[in-house]
Amino acid sequence: MKELNKNNPFKTPEGYFENFTDGLLDKLSEEKLNLPKDDGFAVPEDYFDGLHKNIQQRLDADETKVVQLHPYRKYYLAAASIAAIVLLFFGFNWNTPKELTFDDIASADIESYFESNELGLTTYEIAEVLPVDELEINEILENQFDEENVIDYLNENVDDIEDLNLEDYE
């Protein structure tokens, strides 16, 4: 029997496969939709005519704003919020339960404060106003964590502990 020619005799136009995906996507995205083109939204009469004037007024008003008497107030507020978060994080205990505790400050409020205020603080500025001494932060940093506790913590809080590629370097 004559040996069959294994070579594929069929050919495709040059660049056919390279352009196939693009062509298919073009076809799909150009399908006509049976939907209204007008979405029904309207604007008040003359709205666009007065827009530039309104924006300019806002810009002018911002530029002529009186300079704040206590420009550092927002830094203190920021520092207070940061201190609150740090204290919450480290589980600071109050000895006077009748007074307001940091637990009373909803984390959402703190979060929304940071979101709605442009603090513009650098880490150095935060460090300058944050009363680190009072936090006795060294006590926390100097404490040695038990390896078992660390592994337990990671096990509970990390989705896939294997991804961390933990290795024993000892």
Partner: protein, 180 residues
């Protein structure tokens, strides 16, 4: 029409800034308005977001390096402003994004600046069911008729990805309208 690069130069020049800003607002106000309006749906909210967008553009034009086109940079700011606006609105009211969308749609029925009929209202409901990015892509392509290349510059997504997302969005909308 003034070339984009010249307009940027003038916006950075304190002597020409004011006039150039007026040109900028007048050139882009309608395009950006409709882009924002289709995200936040309500006119008053759109007006707030649009003004904030132009103010941000004015204040940050000094840092605009021209790596992208001015219009795509402005569209990006408008998109971020509109999405952040919705996010903070749902947070303030203590409701989820989905609940806010439903609230926006029910308000639309009583909105004096919405003149849509039943089909147009249903279309907005269908669009509201889309994931955020598909919603943006669908609105930009179908209603604003932006080119895929332009949308790609604005959303920093590949043209192929945009075409696929648009197709998916359109299919979902058609299915929603068929079932409801």
């Amino acid at each position: 029409m003034i070339a984009e690069a010249d307009l940027v130069d003038q916006l950075k020049d304190p002597n020409a800034q004011s006039k150039a800003f007026e040109v900028l607002v007048n050139t882009y106000k309608q395009k950006l308005y409709w882009h924002i309006r289709r995200i936040v749906l309500n006119h008053d909210d759109t007006d707030d977001v649009l003004q904030n967008t132009f103010i941000k553009v004015y204040r940050n034009i000094g840092g605009f390096k021209g790596e992208s086109k001015l219009y795509s940079w402005m569209y990006r700011i408008a998109t971020n402003e509109a999405l952040s606006f919705l996010k903070s609105k749902s947070k303030k009211q203590g409701i989820s994004n989905e609940e806010l969308q439903n609230q926006m749609l029910s308000n639309l029925q009583a909105d004096v600046y919405f003149e849509g009929d039943e089909i147009q209202l249903k279309l907005q409901k269908a669009i509201a069911t889309l994931p955020e990015k598909q919603k943006l892509i669908f609105n930009m392509k179908y209603f604003q008729e932006l080119k895929y290349e332009e949308i790609s510059d604005i959303l920093e997504t590949s043209v192929g990805g945009l075409k696929a997302s648009y197709h998916l969005a359109a299919k979902k909308i058609e299915a929603y309208l068929k079932d409801n």
